[in-house]
């Protein structure tokens, strides 16, 4: 069954008709054309599909379009701040936090969620927060470094 949903996507109002069984992940990638969000597993185990839904990081592979009326959604395409990269995007680039890049959008979204809540995370805090984001390439060391460096930038900005 189709339903007309009104929601906010990366700060812009969107109205569209969607089948209620359509996964949010597929709505974003196949119907709206925002392919930054990735499918790694389809079962909520890998975190590659992480988006912000109503301010909270969730696996978009497990969200049905039927419930999106009134939702606020932010994807990796909406992470930048105005014309600038988000600090964690910059540090991922500088520190080498991405190799193949497939886990990276999910890692960035989850890292942003962590830094929004905890501006001074320890390494253990970062590992805990990123438990649901798998990376097959990097061994996580540079990812953790990038999150720590982004936290430092964000703390300095607030000084």
């Amino acid at each position: 069954m189709n339903r007309t949903i009104h929601f906010t996507l990366n700060g812009k109002s969107v109205t569209r008709e969607a089948p209620t069984h359509r996964l949010l992940l597929d709505l974003l990638r196949d119907e709206i054309g925002l392919t930054g969000t990735k499918e790694g597993c389809g079962t909520g185990d890998c975190g590659a599909c992480t988006v912000m839904l109503n301010g909270k990081p969730v696996n978009s592979c497990l969200v049905l379009s039927g419930e999106l009326d009134g939702a606020d959604i932010v994807t990796i395409e909406g992470l930048h701040i105005g014309p600038e990269l988000h600090p964690v995007q910059r540090t991922f680039l500088q520190d080498g936090g991405a190799q193949c890049g497939y886990c990276t959008p999910g890692m960035l979204m989850m890292s942003k969620a962590l830094l929004d809540e905890n501006p001074n995370p320890t390494e253990d805090d970062i590992r805990y927060a990123l438990s649901g984001n798998l990376c097959r390439c990097t061994g996580y060391a540079k990812i953790i470094q990038a999150v720590q460096d982004a936290a430092a930038i964000l703390r300095n900005k607030n000084v």
Partner: protein
């Protein structure tokens, strides 16, 4: 990676409407809470509902609150992350907050609900042992009349509860607990996160720290029987006694006898039994020490 098949989708605004939909439309319907079990079942396990009734617009199902009689109510739609981070839950029963923290990832915990965890009725459900150890009950609406049932009796078999098709679990109620209550939940699994429990052990007791006496002892085992079970003989061994390492070990061995594990892809029955003994001992002793300060301490501490 499979996709979901089309279904009718409803978002009722009242409990009565939600129940009525299930009654009128008949079999082939499912209630939707967070979707972290239902959507996976539709993608991976061949579940094909004709219609889905989303409960998330029902206001009565949200929120954590303390009642005048000292009991705590958890709305069925409370997410695992809300329980993990709730100052009230962390203060009163830290081991319940930690049980919720064991479920999946933060992304999953932002969607997974306590009601869904109960109604999915997996034997290894992480929040069930702690809730049963706390003497929690389930409030059920819809169908004939509102009713209440202790969580210990709520589960019937893997995937099966006492709920009838049009009934909705609305609230989990934790009765008032003694001031000296201590508890611990240990999820035994090979991975630190993102795993299912091979064995789950929750303990709770009223602890008198001078003499180390334990009263109202509850030992609840998950993943080692068709439903979460209380290890009543093990409880009786500790009840009224002064806690010591040897007593905890004895209780662990008895709990292992009461467990009814199976061998499956994760583990053998013998290994699960051995881990029930070890984790029960560890949980009893750790509860007396108090909550760990970090997940790393929680992972690494013995007693």
């Amino acid at each position: 990676m499979k996709r979901t098949e089309p279904f009718e989708f409803y978002q009722p605004a009242t409990l009565q409407e939600a129940s009525r939909l299930l009654r009128e439309k008949g079999p082939g319907g499912r209630f939707l809470a967070g979707g972290t079990d239902l959507v996976i079942a539709m993608k991976e396990k061949g579940l094909l509902p004709n219609y889905i009734v989303d409960l998330k617009r029902l206001p009565a199902l949200s929120g954590i609150r303390q009642n005048p009689d000292g009991s705590i109510s958890l709305g069925a739609l409370t997410t695992m992350y809300e329980i993990e981070t709730s100052p009230l839950i962390k203060k009163k029963f830290h081991f319940l907050a930690q049980s919720a923290a064991e479920v999946g990832s933060i992304q999953i915990r932002n969607r997974a609900t306590i009601g869904g965890n109960m109604c999915n009725a997996t034997p290894s459900a992480d929040t069930a042992p702690a809730l049963i150890a706390l003497g929690a009950s389930a409030k059920i609406s819809g169908g004939a009349a509102e009713r209440s049932i202790s969580l210990e009796e709520f589960f019937k078999a893997p995937g099966e509860t006492v709920l009838k098709a049009d009934e909705i679990l609305t609230e989990i109620i934790i009765p008032r607990t003694p001031a000296g209550l201590v508890g611990e939940y240990i999820k035994f699994s090979p991975r630190e996160m993102m795993d299912l429990a091979y064995v789950g052990v929750a303990v709770a007791y009223d602890f008198e720290p001078q003499k180390r006496t334990c009263a109202g002892v509850r030992i609840v085992l998950g993943a080692v029987a068709p439903t979460p079970i209380r290890a009543k003989r093990a409880e009786a061994t500790v009840e009224g006694q002064a806690l010591s390492e040897s007593l905890a070990e004895k209780a662990g061995n008895i709990a292992a006898e009461e467990a009814k594990p199976i061998s499956d892809v994760r583990s053998t029955a013998d290994y699960r039994r051995a881990m029930v003994a070890a984790m029960t001992k560890r949980a009893l002793l750790n509860a007396a020490v108090g909550p760990a300060k970090s997940w790393v301490e929680r992972r690494d501490r013995r007693y």
